[in-house]
Amino acid sequence: MDQFITMIITVVVSLAAAAIVFVGADRAVDQAVPRWPVFTGAAGAVAGLVLGAAAQHNGWVPAGPAVGGPLKAGWLIILAGAAVGAALAAGAGRLLQPPRERRNAWESRLRPWVFAGPALAFVAIGLVIPGLRTVFLSFKNGPRGREPGFTLEHYTDIFTDDEYFTVEGWAQIFTSRLFIAGLAAAVVAAAAAWASAARIVGTTKQIAAASRLMKALGLAAAVLVVAPIVGFVESLARDPNQSAIMDVLTVIVSSRVSLWVVVVLAAGSLLVWTLSRIRSQRLELDWGAPSSSMMLALAAVLLVFGALSTLHAVVWNNVWWVVTVAGLSTALGLMLAVLAERARGERFAKTLIFMPMAISMVGAAVIWDFMYEVQPTGNQTGLFNAVLQGLGFSSRGFFINSSMIPWNNFWIMFIMVWIQTGFAMVVLSAAIRAVPDELLEAARVDGASETQSFWRVVMPQIRPTIIVVVTTLIVIVTKVFDLVKATTNGANRTNVLANEMFDQLRDRNFTSSSAFAVVLLALVVPVMIFNIRRLQKDLA
């Protein structure tokens, strides 16, 4: 309760103090034109106050005998500084009074700083200077940075420790099934892009080839959808220690039929594509077509998952987090934004999907930890394992067991997707609503189907918003901490940079903690530069 009363007093006192300082500064600037000495006197008082405080705390002036009561000698020095400063400056202002235009200039030049100054000071003291000091500390000797001299040790510690950063086993990326499937998907995407372009602007022969290709690609897509579903159900019974998502992804390639279909189609379409390019004029590839852009997205996901699930170290794990959560949340949010417009109870559904945004990460961790709960024997009390048990499959410890590595990471990432999808959905659905009706009307008049007008009209219009959503998510996910702390605390190779930074800080290793913070910063610097460019464009 004491804490509570103190808080109320603090709020009232700090708001009152801020108001007095602000109004005082504003009034002082008011005086610059009519009564110049008053203005200089006020400025002098502030300067004297600061100098007096500096003198007092640094012992420049010998502290006199204590006056007693609240008015300690230290305060006397500060007040004396203010009084002397005010008197000197007011006197100087009286003697040297600038002409009226100059005084007007002073007034209008200083006024903005009265308004913007407090915010700038807060950010400078609370963010910018500490940020610079963190960079400085990360190069200092000793755990607290007190020892003289500089070192790169804290960075070399990070980048030579296999736990934090390693490229060991990178060659396995290229043999990982996910990666090969990703390459195949990329080729299919290119073929689809060509086919789409050929259909729009190609020669008769190209159009014929394109429609054959499109049919084949449609078949491939059907196989890609059906095979994993069949394989998923099959594999659940077969290999209990593999995670479900791993099953879905491996089955795409591991079930022989779908692998052959994809490889043959990829090779075949590559052949058709190159032949047609040689025989006739070059076509600008149509990456914006639904088939090609969706295939391209699938290819990117498979390639990234293939690479980042093979490399295991804290830094890679952090990158994997960013790619997975930013990608999945945006894709899912976009899908829901589009579907919700055609669904019943749109507003209510959106509110419920959006709700996790209000739940703390710590609360979300508790919620999902319970959903993923696994019991060694008896009834499963975690919902997901109970469903698996009910279907006759064996249970799995989603992120508890080391047998899940590296896919235990995915199940923690999914909690973040659960939180952030609502954000992506709300922002993107507002952007879709903002697409001018005339554009859609024009597309309809030209005979575009609903799918076509979404991919060709809406998508280009909302692209800037998609980029904003993705960059915002990158910034949020890079510093992910609470979720990992409250679920696994970094065990079983689920550690991330921010958690390591926190642990180093707790152990009072300030310098190596700073080095981890700087590595985090390095990951978001591209986003910061991008944001600055965008702001510059907006303000110009």
Binding site: E341, S360, I367
Partner: protein, 311 residues
């Protein structure tokens, strides 16, 4: 005018109806997956520890008599091992209220200054301020911890001369340290949100007021603040949720008088014991943000859009 009735074949119509309702099915399936976990937590918070460990929460319907308020009674009761949840709740409030009010006050002035005053370096400073949104908070923790605990000193390298820039204010390990940090971290977004709104106000309003001889302060106080109320509310909801749900900053800066999130993580950390209490605690923490969210959702969405769609 009666158009000749062209009745489509019934099978095609049924097919189309089925396809038309597909979005509804997909969306509500996602809604189910998105809400069931929270609901499960809610149900479990009323169950006894034996029940929680032996059967799923969805079986709670079979014997409603077994539900109990005991978990809630336990977390609000003070024991030797654990203070009551009330204490943590008050600590949270002590951080959240100043951390919500003070940035709004500071940011509103700055947003007006950046939007409607001409000065040299205005765009440059604004961009620098707003780009701090993306700066990871982790970049400031070590120096802020040192500042709150020891003050700040500057040593001039060659001269070996140290002098005090900011004295030790004695706010280390207090709520003030936490809300001051929240204020600094929240300001860039606050300025961006309010600037986007305030700079869109019609120019004519300001010109008329200037001609009438109103000072910037009067314009700000009498015109801008009342007009900007939606934006102020939007940011307030934002900052409230963010500070109430924060775990990191409190965990870094506090070793006692912690808010509820820290208490919950400590509870989760001691795996096994008091397993049943975590659900009630988690729900107690979620209740206030959820109420704020559902009642002020309009403002929250507006803030979200102002911060990301435009800007």
């Amino acid at each position: 005018m009666t158009a000749p009735a062209t009745i489509p074949p019934p099978t095609g119509q049924r097919m189309r109806q089925l396809l038309g309702s597909l979005p509804t099915w997909v969306v509500w399936l996602v809604v189910l997956l998105w809400t069931v976990p929270t609901f499960g937590l809610f149900v479990s918070s009323f169950r006894k520890v034996v029940d929680i460990n032996e059967s799923g929460w969805w079986t709670a319907w079979n014997d409603l008599d077994n539900l109990t308020f005991q978990n809630y009674r336990d977390i609000f009761r003070e024991t030797a091992a654990q203070p009551s949840m009330w204490e943590f709740a008050l600590n949270s409030v002590a951080i959240v209220i100043p951390a919500t009010i003070i940035p709004i006050a500071v940011a509103a002035f700055a947003a007006y200054g950046f939007a409607w005053m001409e000065f040299r370096g205005r765009n440059w400073l604004f961009i620098a301020l707003v780009s701090m949104i993306a700066l990871p908070n982790q970049m400031a923790f070590v120096p802020l911890l040192q500042l709150f605990n020891n003050g700040a000193r500057l040593t001039i390298p060659g001269l070996d001369w140290t002098f005090v820039l900011i004295p030790d204010l004695g706010i280390g390990n207090t709520a003030a340290a936490v809300w001051l940090t929240h204020t600094a971290f929240g300001l860039p977004l606050a300025v961006l949100l309010l600037h986007n709104f305030i700079s869109q106000l019609p120019r004519s309003v300001f010109e008329a007021a200037r001609i009438d001889g109103a000072s910037h302060f009067t314009i700000f106080w009498r015109l801008v603040l009342p007009l900007a109320r939606p934006a102020l509310a939007a940011f307030a909801v934002f900052q409230f949720l963010w500070t109430w749900n924060d775990y990191l900053i409190a965990a870094v800066l506090l070793t006692d008088n912690e808010p509820m999130t820290v208490a919950l993580v400590n509870l989760v950390g001691e795996r096994g014991s008091n397993f049943q209490l975590r659900f009630a605690s988690a729900f107690v923490i979620m209740v206030i943000p959820l109420i704020v969210f559902f009642s002020l959702q309009r403002h929250f969405v507006r803030g979200l859009l102002a911060g990301s769609v435009k800007g």
